[in-house]
């Protein structure tokens, strides 16, 4: 969606219902710091302020709950300020799995592919978001793929993009493979009922 990003559009996004844990914004910050340094972060914060969202990233509390819209707005602002493409957004998602505190606390449960897909993925989602449900539709370890479904959450397509990377990242933590692929196969913004992601590995 190439809508122009301004205060109005932001306000609209912010109206979405639900909350997200501070950790997601924290990981955004870490990515920007890594890529663009403090100056970059400052630029981002300036842009967000312009857009009517005053966010001091350093003061975000990892465990706290924030409006779910922020999740999208942050990414959108990043995209605008730095000119990132979708691939880059995916990368942010992937990166987040490596620095997220919540993931670190969860990792003890990542005992097997089966377990992660079937048991832990929904729980993990619930830890992050107060809306939406995540569960595994299909898992074929032999054929090396899995399909997960995300219901009742429509914030912004950019988040779908982010999540592609994110799910990829999760898989990296449980599968010893250098080639792990994820792709959104169904999306509400394309007219589907829910989001579906096909995860493949070799």
């Amino acid at each position: 969606m190439n809508q122009e990003l301004n205060q109005e559009t932001v306000k609209k996004i912010m109206e979405a219902k639900g909350e997200v844990r501070g950790v997601t914004l924290k990981t955004d910050m870490e990515f920007i710091l890594k890529e663009k340094g403090e100056e970059g972060l400052k630029k981002l914060e300036d842009e967000l302020e312009k857009l009517g969202q005053l966010i001091k990233f350093h003061e975000i509390k990892t465990m706290d709950f924030y409006p779910i819209g922020l999740r999208a707005v942050s990414l959108l602002a990043i995209k605008k300020v730095f000119g990132f493409d979708d691939e880059k957004i995916k990368e942010i998602g992937l990166f987040a799995t490596k620095t997220s505190l919540i993931i670190k606390l969860f990792v003890r449960y990542f005992l097997s592919v089966q377990r992660v897909f079937m048991k832990e993925a929904p729980r993990l989602w619930a830890k992050h978001y107060t809306v939406g449900e995540l569960n595994t539709v299909e898992l074929n370890e032999e054929k090396k793929y899995g399909i997960i479904r995300l219901k009742n959450i429509n914030v912004h397509p950019i988040v779908c993009c982010y999540l592609e990377g994110y799910f990829c990242g999760i898989l990296h933590l449980i599968i010893k493979s250098s080639r792990i692929n994820s792709q959104e196969s169904k999306c509400t913004f394309r007219g589907d009922e829910y989001h579906e992601y096909l995860l493949k590995w070799e």
Binding site: L94, R108, L111, L173, I175
Partner: protein, 515 residues
Amino acid sequence: MVIEKEEEKISTLLEDLTSLESYARDLFSFLPLPVCLASSIGIILEVNPAFENITGYNIEEIIGKPIEDILVKKEFEELAKETLEKGFVRAKELIIFTKEKKEIPTSVSTILRKSEEGEVIGYFVGLFDLSDIKKTEKDLKSAQIALLNMLEDVEEARGRAEEEKNKTVAIINNFTDGLLVFDPENKLSLVNPQAEKIFNIKQRDMINRSIQGLKTFPTVEPLALILFKEIKDIFRKEVQIKENLVIEVSSVPILRGEEKLGNLIILHDITREKLVEKMKTEFVSISAHQLRTPLSAIKWTIRMLLDGDLGAITLEQRDFLEKTYRSNEKMINLINSLLDVTRIEEGRYLYKPVLTEIEPICQFVIKSYEDEIKRKNITVDFKKPEKRIPKIVMDVEKIKLAIQNLLDNAIRYTPPGGKVTIVLKRGKKEVEFSIKDSGVGVPKDQQARIFTRFFRGANVMRMDTEGSGLGLYIVKNIIEAHGGKTRFESEEGKGTTFYFTLPIKEEFTEFLKEF
């Protein structure tokens, strides 16, 4: 109200969570030791900054990577197996591979992480960089090798020194002269086998004793007596150890730079030499004795011829006979001198000391040379002091002989028309006799040997071939036997002055003791 309370609680909880998060992060980040968390299947889930550093990977590069990427596969498998079995691995030395494929030797420790339910949820891997230690090990090894080499060299040097020492010991032990070494405190520190033989004492009985202590051994006593006085510098002093063992002793200081390490005493057996000398003297003595009678007979025969007892003789016959007579007299004098010398050497030159005046002896001798003095037209001046010269204890015959020899020399070596002056002086404790001539003198380079046996200066040899060279030797012996001293001054071409002194003894008996 309730909601507020709840919100407060949540707020507090959140704050605490944040603090906890901070705390955990700091703890983990601060750790200077590389640590990572791996899942049970070996995927790296978490690393600390130190781990990033050592492996060269960034956090996002390494999380999700299998841990076997940084280890040798086989080693990783063993590590995992052991961790699962024992629950931990302590300090296993493994190589890890960095991003640049560099190898770093590390000590790896692992600890299994289990859930409350007992499920294995992964393991912590701690690394300890051994590069420095390895380097130090390598350096130590090099140092060790260097040290070993040095030790080898030292050992070699020691071996050589030992060899040298053995050589030296062999030399000392086999040396045909006796060797004694005294340390700086004058204690005996070395005795070689030959020295043991000389003294007939075992080394162990002599070692470490002082010179005083050595005096108690009868065989060592004569040596100890001379050492006691002058361990500094002895040169070829003769010491009689037993009846047929005469040793020539010399001492040499052992110096190392300026430092004196002791004294080396060399004991050289000269028994044989002494024996040979004795035999020589005996031979001379016997020969001289044998010659005396025939010479006497010749003397008498010629005397009778000259006196006309065997008939009248012609002038020509007289001439030849007189020359023969004089020649014979010289031979008789030589024989007598030789006999005197042998007696001196054999210690048989006996003295009959009496207390008497020296002046008349001088007069007598001068008178006996009257003819010769007149013949050579030499002026002889006898100066005596105004004060009376006291009587001296002396053997009259011997002193007469001494003065005679000196006057004989003075006349013989002074050209005709020359002058001889004899002076008698009284000193505090001695009487000095001097005889000065205006003769040919003694060349500077020969002056040291003037009193030795058979020595004749090169200049007088050319002038007069008849002197025996024994005269001064006998004079020296006589004077020294009296406790006196001899000396002379001479300049070639100008003349010579000989001096001797005889002590004035207060007590006659004291003097006798010395005879």
